[in-house]
């Protein structure tokens, strides 16, 4: 997500940077382009207007235009303003109320409420050691309750047994009673999708709210939403009262305007974002990082966090010890490649790195993508343990066997081995330098991902 908006803004800023001095007219023209870029990105019109006005007021000030690098200053103003629009500081999602704490999920049809319910339950379990009970109040859509039951099963989270014919308020009460008896910490109530103009259904959601008095009422909204995001947030906020927003399908390629508008309008923070179809794909929302990502500055903090979450500390330590001794075999390379895939693959990682928009397109054009990662892992898996420890063993006949075993070609095996050789030489050098050297050399070599040509050959 955000890619195209990033690209559009990047073009505007590039032109701005080329000029030395900036006149008010220059800024005005750039801001007009920013305005169109934001509108095309589905940021709501009133939000765009106030955004542009604020940026203009700050950017045409004397200090900015007379500074040494006026373009940089303007970009900074836009950046700061984006963060402000997205809600300033990030809000940690946690449930601290006395158990069982009810949590209500509301939203339009198809915004991803049911999937989000299961994701939240998993997040509470894994991060806060809280046990959640899932209950579906969706008595309207066919098989909706069944969907939550199946998801709960997949996630290993308890769901309230379905009783046919019960109404939403009754189900909510039953869920609370069951949670009290069985000692659950949180009760996640998944409601039927409803249009915000449907008075009857809004009243039903309000009745559920009154029955259980939720500690969190979250609006689940789709990142693909257009200008209507504003009405949506306002109506739900006015009728039911919201404590936060969960933005789903942020892994799509929508330009994220909904994210920019909802915070500005609903007045409640975006607390979580859904980043994929897998049940663990739910992350906290960090305005500063998203703003950086929108402006093409990368999101290194998220990258490091994701690395910490996916790579077990012991594994990292073991690898570090080996690297320090100057050892790095094909098994280690395979493990690294697998970790990259777990962290979201090439594409997922690239999105978080600064200034890679262009590189990403070049990689795509060169046919370098996540499939290549998979092929390289397959090649390493087709080697014997002995070959992995000692790559020198691999001669012509073994290469043919490995290629056949992994469904690749001898050329590809050669390429993998060549890259491995380069990496292991680097590791040997690092080993001689000791721990200090690891950092220095490691940082210097960062752009050259394992298995990927970092520099043009």
């Amino acid at each position: 997500m955000f890619d195209t908006l990033t690209e559009q803004l990047g073009k505007v800023f590039d032109r701005l940077r080329k000029r030395g001095a900036l006149s008010e007219a220059d800024v005005g023209e750039a801001l007009r382009e920013v305005r169109v870029a934001l509108l095309e990105a589905d940021v709501a019109l009133p939000v765009v207007k106030s955004f542009i006005d604020t940026v203009r007021a700050k950017a045409v000030g004397a200090e900015v235009l007379r500074s040494v690098t006026p373009a940089q200053m303007v970009i900074k103003v836009v950046h700061d303003q984006l963060i402000a629009m997205l809600g300033g500081t990030s809000v940690e999602f946690e449930i601290a109320a006395a158990p069982p704490a009810p949590l209500l999920l509301v939203g339009l049809q198809g915004s991803g409420k049911t999937t989000t319910a299961a994701k939240i339950a998993i997040r509470l379990r894994d991060r806060a050691k809280q046990r959640a009970l899932l209950a579906s109040l969706d008595t309207r859509r066919p098989a909706a309750q069944e969907q939550l039951r199946v998801l709960g099963e997949q996630a290993g989270v308890a769901t309230l047994p379905i009783v046919a014919g019960q109404m939403p308020v009754e189900i909510a009460r039953r869920a609370m009673a069951a949670a009290r008896l069985q000692g659950f910490d949180v009760v996640i109530l998944d409601t039927a999708g409803r249009l915000h103009v449907d008075e009857a259904l809004m009243a039903e959601a309000a009745a559920v709210r009154d029955a259980v008095n939720p500690v969190e009422t979250l609006l689940v909204a789709d990142a693909l939403t257009g200008q209507d995001a504003v009405n949506l947030a306002q109506r739900f906020s006015a009728h039911i009262g919201l404590t936060g927003v969960v933005l789903t399908r942020i892994d799509g390629d929508a330009r994220g305007g909904a994210a920019l508008s909802i915070r500005a309008v609903a007045g409640c923070p975006i607390k979580l974002i859904g980043t994929g179809e897998k049940l663990d794909a739910l992350e906290g929302f960090h305005p500063d990082r998203i703003a950086s990502r929108i402006l093409g500055m990368g999101d290194v903090v998220s990258l490091v966090e994701r690395a910490q979450e996916t790579i077990a500390a012991e594994d990292a330590e073991r690898l570090e010890a080996k690297l320090l001794k100057g050892q790095f075999d094909l098994a280690d390379l395979g493990e690294q490649l697998r970790q990259m895939r777990r962290m979201g693959g090439m594409q997922g990682l690239m999105a978080l790195l600064p200034g890679v928009g262009k590189v990403k397109r070049q990689l795509g054009a060169a046919g370098i993508d996540d499939r290549m990662l998979a092929r390289q892992v397959a090649m390493i898996q087709s080697m014997t343990p002995m070959e992995r420890r000692n790559a020198r063993l691999i001669g012509g006949s073994r290469k043919r066997r490995i290629a056949a075993g992994s469904g690749t070609s001898v050329q590809e095996v050669n390429r993998l081995l060549k890259q491995y050789k380069q990496m292991s030489e680097m590791v040997r050098k690092v080993g001689k330098l000791g721990k200090q050297g690891l950092l220095r050399a490691g940082l210097g070599q960062m752009p050259s991902f394992p298995g990927y040509p970092g520099r043009p050959r």
Partner: protein, 312 residues
């Protein structure tokens, strides 16, 4: 309520925001440049996108700039321009009797309403005398199969289903075999929702096409992309990618019973010219209406106000 009233009721709510906006802008009883600029912004705020909003207002300006205009005349003129843009794409979905069965693949991103739309289509086709078979090829989403089965019962159409997590292309193939053997007229294939920027998932859709064509080289005879009316400019990218991957032949827009104005449909029509077959205006079996460009345009600008209640 009659079909037409139901449509109008749904659309009336859809249009309220744009309509309310128009009410305030004719301050000088004349269509001047400032009014046009304001109108353009209103259209952008109704998801038309910058380009389509500009096209519509430029055309309107070319004919009526600096002319005296009442509020209602402005609405009619605007509706006329929008209707002209949408007119060419309003084409009903007509199954060819010769193809047995006429295979319709239904695709789209997650949560747009594919399964619900299939239920309504099955009902409509059934009522027109076609024998319909449904294929539950969304084997990914939890309980998607059960959901389609319930729609199958309501629409009185048999559902071919496998196990959750089974190969979707394989299931589509089996369903086609069964439908052929039964001599069915129409086979509606439900697919798992997928974001169009997920290469692997889109490749899965390509595979389904290849596999279906092994059984019938002409299948699928129609590929329907279901668009959610609350979607913004991303709908353009959705249409582009799905069209490239699986040769979309037509569109259905759902959830038009909201304040979601569906203005993006104008942008989509202008850019792609793909037929728009129908619109979804509710959750009932009857809530799928043929797409009527003029009626859609008039309701969009707040002409033809109708009672608020719809199928509920």
């Amino acid at each position: 309520m009659s079909l037409f009233a139901r449509l109008k009721a749904g659309l009336a709510r859809t249009s309220s925001k744009l309509s309310a906006g128009i009410a305030g802008i004719l301050t000088r009883r004349k269509l001047d440049a400032a009014t046009l600029a304001e109108l353009e912004e209103l259209l952008v705020a109704a998801d038309f996108g910058v380009n389509a909003a500009h096209t519509v207002t430029a055309r309107l300006g070319a004919r009526r700039l600096d002319k005296e205009l009442s509020d209602d005349e402005l609405r009619s003129e605007l509706a006329l321009e929008i209707g002209t843009l949408l007119g060419p794409v309003a084409r009903p979905l007509e199954p060819v009797r010769g193809a047995r069965p006429f295979v319709i693949l239904v695709v789209g991103v997650n949560g747009t309403g594919k399964t619900t739309t299939i239920g309504k289509l099955a009902h409509l086709f059934g009522r027109s005398g076609y024998s319909v078979v449904l294929a539950a090829a969304d084997t990914f989403r939890a309980a998607a199969i059960d959901q389609l089965k319930i729609w199958g019962e309501r629409a009185n159409a048999p559902v071919i289903a496998g196990k959750p997590g089974a190969d979707a292309a394989g299931l589509a193939f089996t369903a086609l075999e069964v439908a052929q053997a039964a001599g069915a007229d129409i086979l509606l294939v439900d697919t798992a929702g997928r974001l169009h920027n997920k290469t692997e998932l889109m490749a899965g859709l390509e595979k389904m096409l290849r596999v279906l064509r092994k059984r019938d080289a002409a299948a699928p005879h129609a590929v329907l992309l279901v668009l959610d009316a609350t979607t913004g400019q991303n709908a353009l990218t959705q249409v582009e990618v799905f069209r490239n991957v699986c040769q979309v032949t037509g569109l259905i827009m759902t959830k038009l019973d909201g304040t979601a104005r569906g203005g993006v449909l104008v942008a989509v029509a202008q850019r792609f010219g793909l037929p728009v077959h129908a619109i979804g205006v509710g959750e009932g079996l009857e809530d799928l209406q043929p797409f009527d460009a003029a009626a859609f345009a008039r309701a969009l600008v707040g002409l033809d106000q109708a009672p608020r209640s719809s199928s509920a």
